[in-house]
């Protein structure tokens, strides 16, 4: 990836973060922490990796994305809006009565959402179903699912992992957003999941560990996944919860609340400054 491309992705990711902040501020609720930690990966997926067309969101041959950690949809909504699936202004109505953008992804109401999620652990199984259908139909599409590290405490994640490896779903990529924090505290203290790499390896996955905010590493991980045959890939992405907004970074308190007006203004100022800085480099 050349520098211009990287800069453009960084600008889009910063805009996605801004969208997540706008959404959670106007909703007076939501989950900014995990939205910001996964923003770079989602941006990469929609702007570099995946074959999707906002003009034809239900195309049978498209790549699929499942946000298994559905609560982090504010940044996904922002990415989808940036990609052109719907209007950016929808973010201002996030979680409002009658709004298109629900508190957790709703595939029936929101263009670009491939699976309704929110109840943890289920999205990765649904992604297995999509990947299985692709194999069965001899289609080339690929399926991507992002799950949280806390989500890996759900037994269903491992039922799905077993199924994916058993059925050789090499068209499936599971990305774990390892920001290290869940609602009740650090994952390691709530109910530790390590060694996560060995767990996925022993379940039959191709495992890649990356810095989830580094586009070069993100790119090479997805390239590696594509080149891997007969087994699914798990990308363990080390991330920072709240990434991009100084006072939210690595703070468990920012798992599930919206910023107040002062916090919102600070966050917007920081992100707008970052966008301006990056655009200056272009």
């Amino acid at each position: 990836m050349n520098n211009t491309e990287k800069l453009q992705l960084s600008i889009l990711a910063a805009k996605a973060r801004l969208g997540a902040v706008i959404g959670t501020f106007h909703a007076k609720s939501g989950h900014p922490g995990g939205s910001l930690s996964a923003a770079d990966i989602m941006t990469y997926l929609y702007f570099k990796e995946m074959n999707v067309d906002p003009a034809n969101p239900k195309d049978a041959d498209r790549d699929r994305f499942v946000l298994s950690k559905g609560h982090c949809c504010p940044s996904l909504y922002a990415v989808l809006a940036l990609k052109g699936f719907f209007d950016w202004d929808e973010l201002y109505k996030l979680r409002h009565v009658g709004a298109m953008l629900q508190g957790h992804p709703d595939m029936k109401g929101t263009p670009g959402i491939d699976m309704s999620t929110g109840s943890l652990g289920q999205g990765v199984s649904a992604a297995c179903g999509m990947a299985l259908a692709g194999k069965y139909d001899n289609k080339d599409y690929r399926v991507y699912a992002i799950l949280g590290d806390g989500e890996c405490e759900e037994g269903q994640v491992w039922e799905a992992a077993m199924f994916a490896a058993h059925n050789k779903l090499d068209n499936l990529v599971v990305i774990v957003d390892q920001n290290g924090l869940q609602i009740d505290g650090p994952v390691a203290e709530v109910c530790g999941i390590e060694p996560l790499d060995k767990k996925f390896e022993s379940f039959g996955f191709n495992v890649i560990k990356i810095d989830g905010h580094n586009f070069d590493e993100i790119e090479s991980a997805f390239e590696n996944a594509k080149a891997t045959k007969d087994k699914p890939t798990a990308i363990l992405a080390k991330t920072v919860k709240g990434k991009g907004v100084s006072f939210m970074e690595d703070q468990v308190d920012w798992h599930g609340k919206g910023p107040n007006k002062a916090e919102f203004e600070t966050a917007c100022a920081e992100l707008n400054a970052e966008i301006a800085r990056l655009e200056g480099e272009c």
Binding site: A60, R64, V66, D106, M107, K108, D114, M115, S116, G118, S119, G121, Q122, G123, S125, A126, A127, C128, G129, M130, A131, L132, A133, G134, Y136, D137, Q156, E159, A160, M162, F163, H166, N167
Partner: protein
């Protein structure tokens, strides 16, 4: 009248799936290590490439079915009713029901007629659980011919469907030459003005025997077979309430949340009449041969006839 077929509805279901799959390439079947028992093994044998065993992981199976359906498949996910609707309730609610996906859920070994396996495997709550899910169609066929037709209707219907299958081999009573299945429509099996019996599933035939017996005693009982518990046939129930003034419901299910409650929902708002619920009264089952258990729980023709006499005397 055609010959009586003695067959468990789970077996009829497996056969129906095979028939339907010949015409419909989209049908795929999932099971959770119970293919031999749910009889999806019949499909597995005929279409091995369209059968996926998910192992003993029912929640995962339901979510996988959801994913498959988003890609145009018509997945049929089968397990025992207990595990399909109980363990995987939340997956069905959130991953299948909420997005209204075209998944068919089959729960076999429903009711106390599961027999010797006992309380943990005798599901008496599946209808209640599935009824609470918005948009879910709930089917409970009563014999071989009805199950064949209901399975076809379930596949043709676009949207989530729960279909209840029994373990016990039972006699058919419908005549395939005249039988017509219409989703959401009850069937009047016997006309009568004195009192109405509304039954579903395996006990319909028991109710039918009871009603015929009582006819000899001069009691004219209307008998309605409800194969579609949701959406329920409101018209046939209201008419029965208006014309007979008293209703008895019969089901192999907890009286909380099942057919009886569904009937009460209709009559209380439209035409309040006394409703006596025959079923399992807020308790667990226990081990024993199926027919002995059905007898114990008052769900055979004798037990049902006793209740009809009792209720008719109150009029």
């Amino acid at each position: 009248m055609a010959d009586v077929v003695t067959k468990a509805t789970r077996e009829s279901f497996g056969e129906a799936l095979c028939e339907l799959a010949k015409e419909n390439d989209s049908i795929v079947v999932l099971d959770a290590d119970l293919a031999g028992a749910t009889k999806t093994s019949i499909f597995k044998k005929a279409f091995p490439e369209r059968f996926f065993d998910c192992g003993i992981a029912e929640g995962n199976m339901m979510s996988i079915a959801a994913g498959l359906s988003t890609c145009g498949k018509v997945p049929v996910a089968a397990s025992f009713a207990m595990f399909a609707t109980g363990r995987a309730y939340e997956q069905i609610r959130n991953s299948i029901g909420y997005p209204h996906l075209n998944v068919k859920i089959a729960g076999s070994h429903a009711g106390i007629s599961t027999g010797e396996d006992g309380a943990t495997h005798q599901c008496l709550e599946d209808v209640a659980l599935m009824r609470t899910i918005p948009g879910m169609t709930v089917l409970c066929p009563a014999d071989h011919y009805e199950m064949m037709a209901a399975t076809k209707a379930a596949i043709e219907h676009v949207g989530p469907v729960y279909i209840r299958l029994g373990r016990l081999a039972i006699d058919s009573f419908n005549d395939p030459a005249t039988y017509k299945f219409e989703l959401g429509k009850g069937i009047t099996l016997h006309e009568g003005e004195d009192i109405t019996v509304i039954a579903t599933g395996l006990v319909v035939n028991e109710a039918r025997k009871a009603v015929e017996e009582l006819e000899k005693e001069g009691l004219n009982v209307r008998l309605i077979n409800i194969h579609t518990i949701k959406p329920i046939d409101r018209d046939i129930i209201i008419k029965a309430a208006q014309e007979t003034g008293r209703i008895i419901t019969v089901e192999e299910h907890n009286v909380i949340g099942g057919l009886g409650d569904a009937v009460c929902d209709v009559v209380t708002s439209e035409c309040p009449v006394p409703v006596r619920k025959v079923g399992v009264y807020d308790r667990y089952g226990y081990s024993g041969p199926a027919w002995e258990l059905l007898e114990k729980f008052g769900l055979t023709a004798t037990g049902i006839a006793d209740v009809i006499r009792e209720e008719a005397a109150k009029k």
